[in-house]
């Protein structure tokens, strides 16, 4: 039975709060965790690279294509790729779309706000007009339901924004792996610092989106909208995918009529950090798809660790899910540090109290996630 009643903070989270105050992370610093986190992030970086390219392709090249049968082909449609697709020898781009749709649904940040402005609607309609003119199917459709294609453009904005976010994150994780290979990353704190620095470095990167229709560019998210990487994509992404996500995937049944699902989306706890690796896909966006993709790119050192487990290759996706959650706790730690109201080494008591409050709020929110489980596994 799923309960919505909030529980008092347990004593179990106190050591975690203390560890973060001392510069540690949500995940304990052990050699095994370092191998798992860096190894999985290397694989994740490769997968994200494929995801962001496809999201960007869909946003740019499949703009208002109502039946995008070949949207996962990145413009390269041939028999070989078609057979591989049907044989499922491919990247699960659906996972990227689930994440995009989750962000679209939960909203938050400047992107969500901008998509409701008259400025955006005017830009969108301009592009729509260019796209549908002379189209015997879409022109009447647009006239019949004038908001339908605008809503499609809003969704395409999220395709593009998530693509741009993952472009940065993919490089960040691959660089992390390279640094680990060079011996520069030796602890979980190093991982968190790398992520934090990467987020901070890209924080002000503008998020823009334009499409070319008949050779003419049409801006949808202009630079003048002031949308940036950290505030308008990274934080909504963490909020949506790590914490909230959807309640209706996976094998756990929820009964909304029995109030097992909060009417307030802000209370959702079905994100990646809450997902149950047993069975895979127990909550939120089905991690199974991601794990299937990750398993193709596991570095040898991590593969050896997995093969040493009692089930060897049999439960690879479960192990991947657990490692992935560990790595996402590191990314969340990076976000916590990045959003810290005051420097961590401040000696000012009031600033220390503010920092503690900030950390405590985050950790309490994660108390029902897999946070406590990853402390010992």
């Amino acid at each position: 039975m799923v309960s919505l009643e909030s529980k008092p903070a347990s004593a179990a989270i106190n050591p975690i709060i203390l560890r973060i105050e001392q510069g540690g992370a949500l995940l304990p610093d052990t050699p095994e965790n370092v191998i798992e986190v860096v190894g999985i992030l290397k694989s994740y970086g490769i997968v994200l690279d494929a995801y962001w390219r496809n999201l960007t392709y869909i946003a740019n090249e499949q703009f208002l294509v109502l039946f995008p049968f070949f949207k996962y082909f990145n413009g390269e449609v041939n028999l070989d790729k078609l057979l591989k697709h049907w044989w499922h020898d491919r990247i699960n781009y659906e996972f990227a779309e689930y994440c995009m749709k989750a962000m679209f649904w939960h909203g938050g940040g400047g992107l969500d706000a901008y998509l409701d402005t008259p400025e955006f609607e005017a830009l969108a309609k301009s592009a729509i007009q260019a796209k549908v003119s002379g189209n015997l199917l879409m022109a009447p459709l647009n006239r019949l339901t004038p908001q339908f294609l605008v809503e499609q453009v809003r969704q395409l904005c999220y395709y593009s924004a998530l693509g741009q976010f993952w472009d940065v994150m993919s490089d960040m994780f691959l660089v992390l792996s390279d640094r680990y290979d060079r011996g520069e990353i030796t602890s979980i704190a190093d991982v968190v610092t790398h992520v934090k620095n990467g987020l901070v470095a890209a924080a002000a990167k503008p998020i823009t989106y334009h499409v070319n229709i008949d050779g003419k560019p049409y801006p949808i998210l202009p630079e003048s909208a002031g949308l940036t990487f950290l505030a308008d994509t990274a934080l909504p992404y963490v909020e949506t995918v790590f914490l909230r996500s959807f309640p209706f995937f996976g094998t756990v049944s929820y009964n909304a009529q029995a109030n097992q699902i909060s009417p307030d989306q802000a209370d959702f706890t079905y994100g990646a950090l809450f997902a149950d690796p047993l069975p895979i896909g127990g909550a939120g966006i089905p991690p199974t798809l991601l794990m299937q993709d990750l398993r193709h790119f596991i570095p040898d050192y991590l593969h050896q660790v997995y093969q040493g487990g009692i089930r060897g290759e049999d439960d690879l996706r479960v192990k991947l899910c657990i490692s992935f959650q560990k790595s996402m706790f590191c990314v969340t730690s990076g976000a916590i540090f990045g959003l810290m109201p005051h420097p961590l080494d401040t000696t000012n008591p009031s600033e220390q109290a503010a920092n503690r409050s900030h950390i405590t709020d985050w950790v309490k929110r994660l108390e029902d996630s897999r946070l406590l489980q990853v402390q010992s596994s």
């Binding site: 756990v252 047993l278 069975p279 895979i280 009692i310 060897g312 049999d314």
Partner: protein, 505 residues
């Protein structure tokens, strides 16, 4: 030819017993497997030689042994015994294949397995009552030792209980055999000669009742069943498989061969009682199974219930119902053996058989998904889902028994519904839901654990879709046995259903 099935495993047992200790742990299983393969192949040869069109005994072998005692070495096979020796050959191979090479005391273990096989096959093939009794007793010893040495915590109690019950069973059967041999004036234990006796009905009733109680213990018929759940629970998986798969069939086989075969007149008089006992077996076994929490006990009580179907069809004693008994014997042998195999794997991997503890074993990666899937198929077959052998067997039993014992048959049908109740309860509690954290680190399941169950599931489905492949072996024998009943219809209380022959167009 038939003797090969008896003597080859005994030779194998002797060779294994004589192995030097240094190589025994490695070689015992391999040698046992070679002999088991030989038995299986030779069973195939016998099947190829067997003519299903002949209703009587075939491939007959006879050798004078102790003539003053009336004991001859007479072996033969007919449509009643041929499916059972085939099933024995298969199950013996599978249990040896699934046994660990590093089992404790391997020489004794594998020797006992082969001796058990020899005893069971000998009993199925014996055409002399005393010879049957000897083989019937021979199989008792290895099974007793298998339970007593490789069994669970209460193995001593279970083994002793099994020994006492089965010994009493043997005494009663021996008494009945002596009774017919002496009272009929035949003076020996030749089955064919004893069939021609002309004993008065009262004597037949006494002897048949003795045989009924004797084999009733082995089947087991309630209230003589209490040894079975204990034996199953404490026995190692392989012994449970053989116990459910072929050893219980010795009881039903004996009842038909020596009860119906020797006393068809008395059989017709006792048939209503048998049918009522069948109902008691089915309902009692099913209701008790519902109350169990140990998976092995659930399957064991399920066995008690399903043996009731055999009893019901045997009581009806028509050609079709006797076909039903044989198909149900094969069906129950395969399905219960399958379920015991699977429960054994679950117990080996999780350390428990308690349905209150187990949960979520169908979990795709860290659970036992294939074992769980096979279990679902197994319980579906046991519950008589169409397309599987359990359905065919139960359908023939019900179809043939309904005109003779309508009330009893309807009550037995309730047992089929109850089978679904206790097995679905087992499946729901054990395999569905979230895999609990204490079960999230189960060891992997090897192909050695999977293959026996896969083979049996395949057979259950194939024979479910093509029941003629089982029925054809016993069709003529069933008709002949059914005609034994016809012979006596003028003096019977109940007229058996006349089913047009052949059974299969």
């Amino acid at each position: 030819m038939l003797s090969v099935l008896v003597w080859v495993p005994l030779v194998g047992a002797l060779i294994i017993a004589c192995l030097p200790d240094a190589i025994a742990p490695v070689r015992s299983r391999q040698i046992a497997l070679v002999f088991a393969t030989g038995i299986l192949v030779w069973t195939g040869v016998i099947l190829a030689q067997f003519d299903p069109a002949i209703p009587g005994i075939q491939l007959f072998e006879s050798l004078v042994w102790l003539e003053p005692l009336g004991l001859s070495y007479q072996m033969g096979v007919d449509g009643l015994s041929v499916p059972l020796i085939a099933m024995n050959g298969l199950l013996v191979w599978l249990v040896i294949y699934s046994s660990e090479a590093d089992v404790r005391r391997p020489k004794l273990y594998y020797s006992l397995m082969l001796i058990l096989s020899a005893g069971v096959v000998g009993a199925f093939l014996a055409q002399n009552l005393l010879l049957f009794f000897l083989f019937y007793e021979v199989e008792l010893i290895p099974l007793y030792l298998l339970i007593a040495i490789w069994g669970g915590a209460r193995r001593a109690y279970a083994a002793m209980k099994f020994l006492i019950y089965t010994a009493i069973s043997g005494i009663l059967i021996l008494a009945a055999f002596f009774g017919i041999a002496l009272l009929s004036g035949v003076g020996n234990f030749d089955y064919a000669q004893l069939q021609e006796h002309s004993l008065p009905m009262a004597t037949q009733m006494i002897l048949l009742t003795t045989i009924l109680v004797g084999f009733g213990i082995k089947i087991p018929i309630v209230p003589f069943h209490t040894w079975l759940p204990d034996a199953h629970v404490e026995a190692p998986t392989q012994a449970s498989v053989l116990l459910a798969g072929v050893l219980l069939k010795l009881g039903t086989y004996g009842l038909i061969r020596f009860g119906l075969g020797l006393f068809p007149d008395a059989w017709q008089v006792l048939a209503p009682v048998l049918a009522m006992l069948a109902v008691v077996n089915v309902l009692y076994g099913s209701f008790v199974a519902i109350a169990q929490t140990d998976m092995k006990k659930i399957v064991a009580y399920s066995s008690v219930g399903h043996m009731g179907y055999i009893l019901l069809a045997a009581a009806a004693a028509t050609p079709l119902s006797l076909s039903g008994t044989i198909v149900q014997m094969v069906s129950h042998g395969l399905i219960s053996a399958l379920l015991f195999f699977l429960v054994g794997v679950i117990y080996e991997k999780t350390g428990t058989r308690d349905v209150n503890v187990l949960c979520g074993l169908l979990a795709p990666e860290r659970g036992l998904p294939l074992i769980g899937s096979l279990m679902v198929v197994g319980v579906m077959a046991s519950a008589g889902i169409p397309g599987m052998m359990g359905f065919i067997a139960e359908f023939i039993v019900y179809r043939s028994s309904l005109p003779i014992f309508p009330v009893e048959t309807l009550l037995c049908m309730l047992g089929t519904a109850l089978t679904a109740v206790y097995f679905l309860n087992l499946i729901n509690r054990t395999f569905f839901g979230r895999l609990t954290d204490n079960l999230a680190h189960l060891p992997p399941v090897s192909w050695k654990d999977r293959i026996p169950s896969i083979v049996m599931v395949a057979l259950v489905i194939v024979f479910g879709l093509q029941p003629g492949w089982v029925l054809r072996w016993s069709e003529q024998t069933s008709i002949a046995l059914g005609q034994l009943g016809d012979r006596t219809t003028t003096t019977l209380v109940i007229s058996p259903l006349k089913t047009p022959a052949p059974l299969i167009p």
